[in-house]
Symmetry: C2
Subunit: 144 residues, 2 copies
């Protein structure tokens, strides 16, 4: 999975901005034939370098609430906690981080009440030392 050359990086940078570009156009930009380009993209997908293609939705949901949950664990790492978190559909992203914190959890819920239930469900796990909730008031910058 470490065999990404300069051409692959060009492909990734183009696809990360214009995921719906036809393979033929992509091929034209990088100076390869269509079939070679397609093969490279397929390889990147199979290797897991490209995980998928997403539409970038601009503030879809006035009703949606985004928040960061900053978790400190009693013992780390904790697969239990990760499994549990994965069970909540509201959980969008979980990152293990260095420092005082242990996990940064990004969530997306339909209501404050949903957020409260989520908090309760998470803090009920043993092995949770501390849970700080920061509701996203505004998304100031978001890139690709």
């Amino acid at each position: 999975m470490q065999d990404t050359d300069a051409i692959d990086r060009t492909i990734l940078s183009i696809l990360s901005r214009e995921a719906r570009i036809p393979m033929k156009s992509l091929a034209g930009r990088i100076g390869l034939s269509r079939s070679a380009t397609t093969e490279r993209v397929n390889r990147l997908e199979r290797a897991g370098v490209i995980r998928g293609y997403r539409a970038d939705i601009g503030q879809l949901d006035d009703g949606q609430i985004h928040a960061f949950l900053l978790l400190t664990l009693k013992r780390t790492p904790s697969l239990d906690v990760l499994d549990h978190l994965a069970g909540f559909s509201a959980v969008r992203k979980v990152s293990s981080v260095s420092g005082q914190l242990d996990l940064v959890v990004e969530v997306e819920v339909g209501s404050i009440n949903g957020l409260n239930e989520l908090r309760d469900g998470i803090s009920a796990m043993d092995n949770i030392e501390d849970l700080t909730t920061s509701i996203v008031l505004r998304r100031d910058i978001e890139r690709s």
Copy 2:
């Protein structure tokens, strides 16, 4: 921009996961003709609801470092700080949040040194009360 009905929401949820799906297949899934579906998608794009399509790149290079910078400001809000942050290409996402913190900044740098320079550049701004850095050690969960 507020005229998104149930069908539009279905379209968005599908495209947010499978941005490269052919319009014909999308039409099949939502039970409309291809041309009606295409027209809806075009409208969503023109209205700015769909901002673009991105390939989801999984841990592109081992050389890339992701981190959360947790900022507390002296005075809030601060357009200066946002403008300044926007000037750093390493800055991927900035969210204004409630609570003790003020801003959650997600960054992506090529090296620890780059992270240090970024920290220095940010903490040099007046109006920064506190800056906590949490380097992402691992991405445990990431959804669409």
